[in-house]
């Protein structure tokens, strides 16, 4: 069990949620998604993003349209389907619960440790 692995596991869980969140705000091009996530200090590789988008699309949560770009090849712009919107809401709810839970546990745990330490000494 190494730290990297655990970190990536943790990150992985929230990736879909974050991506759907970005797309929910409006049509998005994959590299824009990456840029936005990078700004939030959440680094993701395109090689990770594309399969994820495809899977979501195949699950009917996302749809896309081709947009001609100047110079480069046409781009795929992704948007949320109704089903995807529902899915996002559920994820959002879950995230809230989870965040609260994690908050509570970690906070409590921290305090416990803080409180225990002096008594031990």
């Amino acid at each position: 069990m190494n730290i990297e692995n655990t970190q990536s596991q943790m990150r992985k869980g929230v990736l879909e949620f974050c991506i759907l969140s970005i797309i929910r705000r409006g049509e998005a091009y994959p590299s824009d998604i990456i840029e936005e996530m990078k700004k939030a200090n959440l680094h993701i590789l395109e090689g990770t993003l594309y399969p994820l988008l495809t899977r979501l699309k195949n699950a009917d949560f996302l749809t896309y349209r081709w947009v001609e770009s100047t110079g480069g090849p046409p781009r795929k712009y992704f948007s949320l389907t109704d089903k995807g919107a529902d899915f996002y809401k559920e994820l959002e709810a879950t995230w809230q619960e989870m965040a609260n839970a994690v908050q509570m546990i970690t906070q409590n745990g921290y305090h416990t440790v803080e409180e225990i330490q002096p008594t031990n000494q």
Partner: protein, 750 residues
């Protein structure tokens, strides 16, 4: 200095360095492998490639001349290598059991199943059997292939069924090459197939070493033929035979096998592999580590691609606990298409190489032979070549001009072109000059046209035939016996020795010492019954020309002085034609009339007389000149040489009452025929119809005689005489050795 290629990438033409292309290729391959199990694999790859194309376009827009290694590396870094991916397939997590780590199998397991034998799907010529065996034995596949080919060739094809059985029995599996260095043919530095160059790279020896070894039989062969006739080389008879017989042939065979069996190093990574810069599995692992630490090197790059795959597989398998075999099945089923295609390519490759090798070998020999023969015949300094003969046929400037064109252009150009081609082929030089081909082509066409015109002009000169009769003054021999013999012609004539040949028959035509006249011997002797009681003789002189008048004039010019001394009639051995009166198929027919009851004998020197007819045909399928040779005229006239005949009212009769057994003649030497006759009396009748459908030619050697029978279809049957047959006089041959060369056929034609 790097080679830049243009690729069509996602509908865009991208100029890219070849090495960068290799990296890209490996990268997309690794992605393909990584996403193999994924449902939307093609779409994912497509999206990623699209993105790469977009990034490349941006780079190019920024002013880069082409995509470099650096660009590709940057792009790959941005998109991520498979091992960098959060090996999630987040959505997939739900689909699978989620029993993370339930399987400890990682990709490394792929490398170790030495226990069982597989066919290698990834590296094969036909079915991957040899490659699989090599994997099992942990040796280079090329070695197994060579051994297999040798077993097949040496063991009467036993390798083929073995291969097919193994192909059927062994399961297919994709395996990585297990060699640090692999034997490739080197296309960058090749003479014929790049085999020697590849071997030198494999064994890390200078390239000239294998080349010299392969070329050794050729080099020695040249020296051998040069010094063959030098006396002191005669002592080494056993040695050259070994070299040129077994050794040279084997080396040639080995070269062809290697050419067929060893793949050509096409891609940059294969070239690296060839030189041993490829890294084996142990160091691939290291190089992956190095890669992660940002240490990059050209060689490591290629190694790491495999490393990526290894890691990716390991992670997938480890994390998602997918059944390995199930997964493999998927991967391999997806590979069946390309695999089948590769199999097809491999087979075609093998066949192609075989044909190529065979063709080159044969072409080389033919060109070399033609070249030697051509130069020898044309410019021979010792003998007299075709060039000397032309003056006896051609007249005027135009005919000579056309003949020159014909010889130099029609025959010379293809030889020069072939030599150029072979040399190019050997040096690997490529020509960007298409003018050469056009020049050769048009010169050859000129030669062809010249040949047609020349043919037409010459044919005209043989259009009409006329004959002139010339009486010979004969005094009747007192004893009632006339012998016919041959004497040398007036003046000094020398044989034109074309090919070393001791056959008396082939001495003609002869040239005079001043080379101004040529002696030919189209002469035949006919014996007829005299109407009165005296011997008579006359000549019928034939010649050809465009018009009857000219033909007659040509015939008149034939000088054939016959002389008589007591009871012997001397015929010249031939008659001369000069450069002025040209060769117009002059023929002399000597007719000797013998009174009934008197005798005649023809000396065997008259056997040397030749007879052939050149005639022009203007109708029918075979237009042009045709040359008919008739060596059987003596048989037509019904006599043998060196035999006394008595003229009777019905025809000639042997005075020794033996039969002219013409059938026995086929199996018999002329010298023996008198011992040989069946004692059943006279059988020959003059008016007996003899149909000529075969021409028998006898070649006499020291110990054996070979009969060649030509029938009208030019079907050739060679009978070697054996001692058991009815020729007891013949010496027992120690060994029978005969080579019937193409030149024999040429003479037969004459």
């Amino acid at each position: 200095m790097k080679k830049v290629i243009n690729i069509n990438f996602q509908g865009r033409v991208i100029p890219i360095e070849e090495s960068a292309y290799e990296i890209l290729q490996h990268y997309t391959d690794s992605l393909r492998k990584y996403f193999a199990k994924e449902e939307g694999r093609d779409e994912i790859i497509n999206d990623i490639e699209n993105r790469i194309a977009e990034l490349f376009t941006e780079d190019l827009k920024k002013g880069s001349a082409c995509i470099t290694d650096q660009h590709v590396e940057t792009v790959i870094k941005g998109i991520g290598r498979p091992e960098d991916f959060d090996s999630e397939g987040a959505a997939e997590a739900g689909a699978t059991s989620g029993a993370s780590g339930s399987s400890s199998t990682s990709y490394t397991a792929q490398e170790e199943p030495r226990g069982s034998l597989f066919r290698n799907e990834n590296d094969k010529v036909l079915g991957g059997v040899c490659s699989g065996l090599a994997y099992y034995l942990k040796i280079d596949p090329a070695i197994v292939r060579v051994l297999f080919a040798l077993v097949t060739l040496g063991g009467f094809g036993s390798g083929i069924p073995l291969y097919i059985i193994l192909w059927i029995v062994l399961p297919a599996k994709g395996m990585q090459a297990n060699m640090r260095r692999r034997l490739y043919r080197n296309p960058e530095s090749k003479v014929i197939g790049g085999v020697a160059s590849g071997i030198s790279a494999y064994f890390n020896i200078p390239v000239w070493v294998p080349r010299v070894i392969f070329a050794l039989p050729l080099i020695l062969g040249v020296f051998h033929s040069i010094f063959r006739n030098v006396w002191f080389f005669g002592n080494f008879d056993g040695f050259p035979d070994f070299i040129f017989g077994g050794f040279g042939g084997t080396l040639f065979l080995i070269y062809v096998i290697l050419w067929m069996v060893i793949p050509e190093a096409r891609t940059a990574s294969e070239k690296l592999e060839m030189r041993g810069e490829k890294i084996d599995l142990e160091s691939i692992k290291n190089s992956v580590q190095e890669e992660l630490q940002g240490v990059k090197g050209r060689a490591e790059k290629f190694g790491s691609e495999f490393g990526e795959k290894a890691k990716a597989w390991g992670e997938e398998v480890g994390q998602w606990g997918k059944d390995v075999s199930n997964q493999s099945a998927k991967v391999y089923s997806s590979e069946i298409g390309p695999a089948a295609r590769r199999a097809g390519n491999g087979f075609a490759h093998a066949i192609g190489v075989l044909f190529k090798a065979f063709f080159l070998f044969i072409a080389g020999i033919i060109v070399f032979a033609i070249f030697i023969a051509f130069t020898a015949v044309l410019f021979s300094g010792l003998g007299y070549g075709v060039y000397d003969l032309k003056n006896y046929v051609l007249e005027g400037f135009w005919q000579n001009f056309l003949a020159f064109n014909t010889i130099v252009l029609l025959f010379g150009i293809p030889i020069i072109a072939a030599v150029v081609w072979i040399i190019r082929r050997m040096t690997g030089a490529r020509s960007n000059n298409s003018y050469l081909g056009w020049t050769f082509g048009s010169l050859w066409t000129i030669g062809l046209i010249s040949a047609v015109f020349l043919g037409a002009i010459i044919t005209r000169q043989f259009k009409r035939v006329e004959s002139v009769q010339e009486e010979i003054q004969l005094t009747n021999p007192s004893n009632g016996k006339l012998a016919v013999n041959v004497m040398p012609a007036d003046g000094r004539f020398y044989s034109m020795i074309w090919f070393d040949e001791d056959n008396e028959h082939e001495k003609f035509p002869k040239l005079s010492a001043d080379e101004d006249s040529m002696l030919i011997n189209t002469i035949r002797v006919k014996v007829e019954r005299s109407d009165d009681s005296g011997y008579h003789a006359y000549l019928l002189k034939f010649a050809r020309a465009n018009t009857p008048t000219e033909a007659e004039a040509n015939a008149e010019k034939i000088s054939f002085p016959v002389s008589q001394k007591d009871s012997v009639l001397y015929l010249p051995e031939g008659f001369a034609i000069t450069k002025q009166n040209k060769f117009r198929n002059q023929q002399v027919m000597v007719v000797i009339e013998v009174p009934v009851g008197k005798q005649i004998r023809l000396d065997n020197r008259t056997d040397e007389f030749d007879w052939f007819t050149v005639s022009a045909r203007y109708r029918g399928r075979e237009r042009g000149l045709s040359i008919d040779s008739d060596d059987d005229w003596r048989r037509d006239y019904g006599y043998r040489t060196d035999v006394w005949y008595t003229m009777t009212a019905t025809g000639m009769e042997r005075t020794d009452k033996k039969s002219d057994d013409w059938n026995a003649d086929e199996n018999q030497d002329e010298n023996n025929n008198e011992n040989k006759g069946n004692n059943d009396g006279y059988r020959y009748k003059k008016d007996k119809e003899i149909k000529i459908d075969t021409v028998d030619i006898k070649l006499k050697g020291k110990d054996t005689t070979v009969n060649i029978r030509l029938n009208t279809m030019l079907d050739r049957k060679v009978q070697k005489e054996s001692d058991e047959e009815e020729s007891p006089v013949r010496k027992k041959g120690a060994y029978v050795y005969h080579m019937i060369s193409i030149f024999d056929l040429m003479r037969i034609g004459k």
